[in-house]
Amino acid sequence: MSTAWVSGSLPVSVDADKCIADKGCTICVDVCPLDVLEIDATSGKAVMRYDECWYCLPCEQDCPTGAIHVDIPYLLR
């Protein structure tokens, strides 16, 4: 399939210093109803993989270290 790079602002950001996915945490990935988060294979940290966020906040609320911040998606802001 043909592909193109699309750059843009994503609503979910993860503070890599605070994220403890490398110690086995997957909580945000588990709770997201849209399944848009993933533990990145290279960095070992949580990342937003799909721009499909309902800005509902379970990921942010349930993260044990406060590593996640959710912004309102740019198109709605």
Binding site: C32, P33, L34, D35, C56, Q61, I72, P73
Partner: protein, 577 residues
């Protein structure tokens, strides 16, 4: 082709949001020997409409504040007479016991100084809103009960189709894993559909596919599955359309703020509707105000005392849609100084809010033996969260009884093979369309052709566009299991779009205010259309609509009461007088 995963249970509950967990718990309570599986697309801990709690119960029938008879009358009137009162009554009678049970389980409802439930008036006539300012833990409470009762849970499984045996009884379901794309077959004596609203039907004005009013996990999966299983659906033309915070697209929320003194106003700061309870009639006045030169419409709060506003913020910014506060901050909106701009949502199908759903009786039975439906996708008008719990309970208990008398049904191998091939096909393609491209186009067409006011020619054109998109489904490419889930959701959305168009075209009158306002049939016509419009898949595989008579009422509705919801508009000369 790898081996399919397969499992055999007694009761399969599909969807673990609100109705689903209750159905599973109640089936287990009714008969602890049964194997009950709760299958969930996301994760039961945080899935569905109530993932972050709820602002309150919109339809609590609490003794001392309301009676089941009053409630049945109010919803009959709010839904312009087209109701099966037996289903409303089953809800109303079970409403209070359900509140008490949830309370015992640890769900927090607002109480007054004497410990009684602090019910508020928001509806046009009666008093039914019970706030839950500390309701954020509701999913945790349900999860604890699921564990306690030994309900089996499978997360991240997307159900795609139901299976029947040769006698037409329900026999199980197919599902795909959204992380691995493995194909699952679940055999079950009975299936309870609890997959929520069709929330990804219209495209939000923001253009963001997932910026919907409903939790966008709910793409209309259950509507589509019930349809393909041959079940009757009802009231599909009675769309869900809500008054929401513009762009944010969540409730503002008049039910919370109303009892504190907030109200909906036009650009001149004038009230124009008597009652903020969401109904088609209210939405029509909202639409008229937007179109009539006095718009936009706002939620007005700036006249309230500072401490009241702090209380409102504590509720609205911590519960249900807690990112509301973040949205307002980004725009510099402070309830103390600015009114909140509101707008009309995209269309959806949801009996929780309006009336479109899978046809059920007062035991949550659909027209397919062994198949039940509960919650937003089951046609019990204005049922909301407590209705999802009550019908989850009714379904779970009845399914447990049904199972005791049944032998498991046989699923034909050919059916399994065909379904596996259908759902996995996008993974095997390398050239074609991406799921989100097709979804965007489909939902834009839904807006262009189906958003009320409805126009016959436009809806016919819409059907032509949907048929083209049906052909595009054969070209969707999924690069991974996640995209495979999205690709399958597009087909659910397409089914819902076609149902919405056909049911709307069939009912050649206007009813339910804006929900079914047809410009070329602008009048309500009780002579021909005081009936339910049913929709199903005919013997020939084509979509068919037909009329079903309204059951004789068990609660009489007086002449004058009947039109109460058509008299919501406040005329300015009355205010001046």
């Amino acid at each position: 082709m790898s081996e399919d995963k397969s499992i055999t249970v007694d009761v399969l509950v599909i969807g673990g949001g609100t109705a689903g967990p209750m159905a599973a718990i109640k089936a287990k309570q009714a008969n602890p020997q049964l194997r009950v599986l709760l299958l969930e697309k996301a994760h039961v801990k945080r899935s569905g409409a109530i993932s972050m709690g709820m602002d309150g119960l919109n339809n609590a029938v609490v003794p001392g504040h309301a009676t089941p008879e009053q409630y049945v009358r109010e919803i009959t009137v709010a839904n312009d007479g087209i109701v099966n009162q037996h289903t409303l009554m089953a809800y109303a009678r079970n409403s209070y016991p359900m509140i008490e049970e949830l309370d015992r389980w640890g769900v927090k409802f607002e109480k007054d100084e004497t410990g009684d439930y602090a019910v508020k008036k928001v509806h046009h006539v009666g008093t039914y809103v019970l706030p839950m300012p500390e309701g954020h833990d509701i999913k945790k409470v349900l999860y604890r009960q699921l564990r306690k009762h030994g309900v089996e849970i499978s997360n991240r499984l997307v159900a795609t189709r139901l299976f029947k045996d040769k006698d037409g009884r329900i026999a199980g379901a197919a599902a795909i894993d959204s992380r691995t794309a493995e194909f699952h077959v679940v055999r079950a004596k009975s299936v309870i559909l609890c997959t929520g609203a069709a929330g990804r039907l219209g495209l939000p004005a923001s253009g963001y596919l997932f910026g919907t009013y409903e939790n966008p996990t709910n793409a209309g999966d259950g509507y589509s599955m019930a349809y393909h299983a041959g079940a009757e659906l009802s009231g599909i033309e009675c769309f869900q359309i809500n008054p929401l915070i513009k762009d944010y697209n969540g409730p503002s929320c008049a039910y919370v703020t109303g009892p504190f003194g907030g109200y909906t106003a036009n650009a001149l700061g004038q009230r124009f509707i008597e009652c903020d309870y969401w109904s088609g009639q209210m939405m029509l006045e909202f639409y008229n105000e937007l179109a009539g030169g006095k718009g936009p419409v706002f939620l007005k709060l700036d006249h309230l005392a500072d401490e009241t506003l702090t209380k409102i913020e504590d509720i609205l910014h911590a519960n249900e849609r807690p990112s509301r506060g973040r949205f307002h901050a980004g725009r510099g909106t402070d309830y103390r100084a600015q009114a909140v701009e509101m707008h009309i949502s995209e269309i959806g199908l949801c009996s929780g809010h309006s009336a479109s759903g899978v046809w059920v009786d007062e035991h949550a039975r659909t027209t397919v033996p062994g198949l039940y439906a509960a919650g937003d996708l089951a046609c019990v008008p204005h049922n909301y969260m407590l209705g999802a719990f009550v019908y989850g309970k009714l379904a779970g208990e009845d399914a447990a009884r049904y199972c005791a008398e049944q032998q498991p049904g046989e699923i034909a191998t050919a059916d399994i093979v065909a379904e596996r091939e259908r759902v996995l096909a996008p993974l095997s393609r390398t050239e074609g369309l991406s799921p989100n491209q097709v979804e965007y186009k489909l939902r834009r067409m839904v807006n262009d052709y189906l958003q009320p006011p409805k126009v016959t020619k436009k809806m016919e054109l819409g059907l032509a566009r949907f048929a083209e998109i049906a052909a595009d489904l054969q070209r969707i490419v999924a690069r991974n299991p996640h995209e495979l889930m999205r690709a399958n959701e597009v087909s659910f959305i397409l089914d819902c779009a076609e149902m919405a168009a056909r049911a709307s075209l069939y009912r050649t009158e206007s009813r339910w205010g804006l929900y079914h306002y047809r410009l070329d049939h602008p009048e309500r016509n009780d002579t021909d259309w005081f009936v339910h419009v049913q929709l199903h898949k005919g013997e020939d595989g084509a979509m068919r609509c037909f009329k079903r008579a309204v059951e004789p009422y068990i609660i009489e509705v007086g002449e004058h009461e009947r039109d109460a919801y058509s008299r919501l508009r406040i005329h300015q000369h009355e205010v001046a007088a």
